[in-house]
């Protein structure tokens, strides 16, 4: 589960060298290989009546990406890192999945999707589509400069949001192996409002105590590994409460198990991982169910 190789997927406007630089702290753990990837959406160069396949445009877009990657690669090579590159025309999720298989990457890093809500409804969320296709974690990177709450590198103060699912318990194991990068871990659970509403004060406190005890078990695992950890219980709608917790804890990243809802259910009612990936101001590390 060590992160030796990352696949850094960029459209350039959302994920630049500053993001890459922030991720280089992973070298303290095990990082030795960075693979850049840029996917040119097929419709930009597709066959059109009277024009045909826009080969010149494809070459122009590929070479523009190549020039950026050569510049980034030179900086990483000079630090002794191994670097690779993929520039492909096609569908983003499919091409990333292919590259992950070829490269045997340990982590995919991607920027926030720029699709509108309507586009996401019709074509789905790219991030969630990726999670479905991959059996490795995906880090949805958000630039620190856009977020007054985030200071530091993503892995410095992760906040793990646990819903006790096997995927969120895998997230704990995943963060444990990043010990050299971590200053402190916060572990939270968002209790369902329905479980509190209408019950007695004693019942509400009992729920809180039970949740806290389970969170403390997770904290003990971190503390035994020499990582400072604290637990917190929140009540309410998961996505909003996780965001609030990340701000209050001054977290540098939110870590959570990804949804196992099927495509159509998710398209209609959404999911917490999707909301965090697409809307949260914090970088989001999503651990897929396949790692269970």
């Amino acid at each position: 589960m060590k992160i030796k190789k990352i696949l850094f997927v960029t459209k350039f406007e959302e994920l630049g060298y500053d993001a890459l630089k922030a991720l280089l702290s992973l070298r303290k753990s095990a990082l030795e290989h960075v693979v850049f990837m840029h996917v040119i959406e097929r419709d930009k160069v597709a066959m059109q009546r009277g024009v045909g396949y826009k080969k010149d445009e494809a070459i122009r877009l590929k070479e523009t990406a190549n020039i950026r990657f050569i510049d980034w690669a030179e900086r990483l090579f000079e630090q002794g890192l191994e670097v690779g590159v993929y520039i492909q025309v096609g569908s983003l999720a499919a091409e990333v999945a292919k590259a992950v298989r070829k490269e045997e990457a340990d982590l995919v890093v991607i920027g926030r999707s720029h699709k509108t809500a309507m586009e996401q409804f019709y074509s789905g969320s790219t991030v969630i589509e990726l999670i479905r296709r991959l059996s490795i974690p995906v880090l949805v990177y958000k630039p620190v400069s856009n977020n007054p709450f985030v200071t530091g590198t993503p892995f410095q103060r992760p906040l793990i949001a646990s819903d006790w699912s096997p995927a969120s318990l895998s997230a704990v194991d995943y963060v444990l192996q990043l010990k050299p990068l971590i200053e402190e871990v916060r572990v939270i659970h968002v209790a369902d409002e329905d479980a509190i509403e209408g019950s007695s004060v004693m019942n509400a406190q009992k729920t809180r105590k039970e949740v806290k005890a389970r969170l403390e078990e997770i904290c003990t695992r971190f503390q035994s590994a020499g990582i400072a950890a604290r637990s917190h219980v929140y009540v309410g709608r998961p996505a909003q409460e996780i965001e609030k917790a990340a701000q209050e804890c001054q977290a540098t990243m939110v870590v959570l198990g990804s949804s196992s809802k099927n495509r159509w259910v998710e398209r209609w009612i959404g999911s917490t991982p999707r909301a965090i990936a697409e809307q949260s101001a914090f970088p989001a590390l999503l651990i897929p169910p396949a790692m269970e």
């Binding site: 090579f77 000079e78 191994e82 690779g84």
Partner: protein, 130 residues
């Protein structure tokens, strides 16, 4: 029969350019898409010269060059680097890997930064194989 030259490059257009130059000058071209495939072909085909790109999937030319030069059986394989990556970067990278304890490797004898003219490539290949 002409001498065997292996072109290791992930870009099919560059491979086509290099193999055309090789064929026109009487050499026998071989092709590999990345460093890993390149190493396998070097071991199986024993080419007289390797034209090596640097930035590639699976394994870079920096690592392949290093593997060749620290392997007693392969260290004499001639290598011409043909890449968009600057020679200065290539050397600094090898220096960094040496500092990490991976052993000293010599500088590449032939290094061309892309783009390259067919004539320049042909004359450098000729020089490398003399």
């Amino acid at each position: 029969m002409g001498k065997k030259v292996l072109v290791v490059d992930d870009d099919p257009d560059v491979r086509l350019f290099s193999t055309t130059v090789l064929e026109e000058n009487g050499y026998l071209p071989l092709e590999a898409e990345n460093g890993e495939e390149g190493l396998r072909m070097i071991k199986s085909e024993k080419p007289d010269l390797v034209i090596l790109d640097v930035l590639m999937p699976r394994q870079s030319g920096i690592r392949l060059f290093r593997q060749l030069k620290i392997d007693a059986a392969l260290k004499d394989v001639k290598v011409l680097i043909l890449s968009g990556i600057a020679k200065k970067t290539f050397l600094r990278s090898q220096q960094a890997l040496t500092e990490f304890g991976e052993g000293q490797v010599p500088e590449p004898e032939f290094y061309i930064e892309k783009p390259v003219d067919a004539e320049v490539l042909a004359s450098t290949i000729k020089k490398a194989l003399e």
